[in-house]
């Protein structure tokens, strides 16, 4: 499971980095989204006790519960927050992209087409 997750994070990051270095604004925003997916998965991978399957993040009602049987809840909370913030930032950036497209008449990241 670890190797699958690691390869997945690697592919997301590599594609994201490649895309944000591209000259078109749409490629940049897709690249940023891919990087944020990679980061979210990475936070999960950093959970205390490693990756877990079939482990709830909360204790069962009543009783003390066994800490070894539950997943680390903090990374899940962090990921949730990061997703919300990342989503909001993507939306905000999208608006700026549209404004830039309207004002400069091009979708190049420098606001002007490179001279050939």
């Amino acid at each position: 499971m670890e190797i699958v997750l690691a390869i997945g994070i690697g592919i997301f990051t590599a594609s994201g980095v490649w895309l944000i270095l591209r000259p078109r604004t749409y490629q940049v925003i897709i690249g940023l989204s891919l990087i944020s997916y990679a980061v979210n998965l990475f936070i999960f991978a950093m959970a205390g006790g490693g990756l877990r399957v079939d482990a709830p993040p909360i204790l069962a009602a009543g009783g003390v519960g066994n800490p070894a049987a539950i997943a680390d809840p903090i990374p899940q909370a962090l990921v949730l927050t990061a997703i919300v913030i990342g989503f909001a930032m993507t939306a905000l950036f999208l608006v700026v992209l549209l404004a830039a497209r309207g004002r400069t008449g091009t979708d190049h990241v420098d606001g002007r087409e490179p001279e050939r």
């Binding site: 944020s36 936070i43 959970a47 962090l78 927050t81 913030i85 950036f93 700026v96 404004a99 606001g111």
Partner: protein
Amino acid sequence: MIPALDHLAILPVVLPLAVGAFILLFDERRRLLKMSLSLATVFTLLGIAVTLVVLVNTPTGDRWSTMIVYPLGNWPPPFGIVLVVDRLAALMLLLTAVLGCATLLFAMARWHSAGPRFYTLFLLLLMGLNGAFLTGDLFNLFVFFEILLAASYGLVLHGSGTARVRAGLHYIPINLVASSLFLVGVAVIYGVTGTLNMADLSRIVPTLPPDERILMESGAAVLGIAFLVKAGMWPLSFWLPTTYAAACAPVAAMFAIMTKVGIYVILRLFLLCFGDEAGASEEFGALWLYYGGMATILFGGIGVLASQSMQRLGGYSVLISSGTLLAAIGTGNSAVISGALYYLVTSTFAICAYFLLVELIERGQAAGADVLAVTLEIFGDPEEDIEDEDEEVGVAIPATIAVLGGAFVACTALLAGLPPLSGFIAKFAMLSALLNEAGDIPAAHWAFVVLLMMSGLATLIAMTRNGIRTLWVPAESEIPRVRAIEAIPVGALLLLCAAMTFAGGPAMRYMEATAQILYWPSEYARDVLGSRPADHTASDPRASGHGPSGATP
């Protein structure tokens, strides 16, 4: 302590949020209402910040200063999020509040109507800044960073225009990538240490086994890159001058503190996690900060000399200021850091005043007038000039130009570090601390001394040249129309710098105490982790009465 004062620590976060959200409900045309509410808020924030500075500076019992620890939701640290007001945080809060008051007053003259929802964005920026200074939790720091960045994205675009949209197109993605790095760093640190509480972190770092230490240090390095992007360390700073030059005057002035947030976090985390008590990780990354800071000073100095427009000059001055602070942190000497804190306050005031002033000076000029001034310098007929001067003998310089020119000279003295204003004291404090170290002074420190001097010289040359061109050779420019409400903030900021010169003794003592406390991370950790949540049922006599304010260093 008075119970009502217990909640003072949360107010700098909650108040701007509540007011900012509230004024969002009203129509854009009800500007007077929004203006007065925002103004009342920033001045209340100023009052709160002053109170907090006085509180943390008051000795309680046998301690010589107080630290206010506020557990949010009454969860005990390290499980809940804590807000911590120590001397450094209180100082930064005060700095933010002063800048907020000055720039908001300035914006009220005309910039506030240049785009929608200016006041809400401005208040949210203040909330993010205050939160970032107050929080004692790494992930909470991320959230406040995002809040202040989101507000800053809106503010950069305030006033619209192609130049601003273009600048935003670079500013926003760079900060989004930096935020991703921030999250990666936080995740690695959490994975290794199992905590996000900064105080808890400082306790765990010295006890890490070597194989985990490498992971922790690489996490801290990734995190550091995210902060260095904000602080504008070379080579992560190419976005900064363009963005600051494109932003409208009050926004650029408020952004003077944005780079300081990065500096603040580096100062805090570096000394907490890799300070003198960190065992094998001691001084991790100090050399990077030191040489990176010096490279930034060099880059900023060259940029200042090369910049054509006054706004870009301001942007490069921000870089010089950041570089100086980073290199000072990298020396790892508490005396240098106390000088650097004084420099931080002075340079922030000066840069803020400079950005406001430039807008006033340039208002009188037609577009491209500075280029015209340069051409006149080359092609102008000298005899003609002399005739003009003869005619003007006895004609008083218009009062507005005199005031603006005086303020410009004061800004130059502050930024270049010349006497008699506080910029000189700041540089002098850092230099004397560098040169008074025990033993031989290493060559690297001499390099820092030389760079510090040369950057002052570069600023002086560049600003004098610009000042002569724009103030003394007004090529067919009108006298700028300046309203009192725009001149007052600039004057107030410069007067504050003058006050810091006169009250240099007490100010330096505060900075020295701040720097000393930063060098005792174990005290910080004990106070934060030792604080008990307020027990309102008062069933436990140990817990009652301590509350969020119990801890003292």
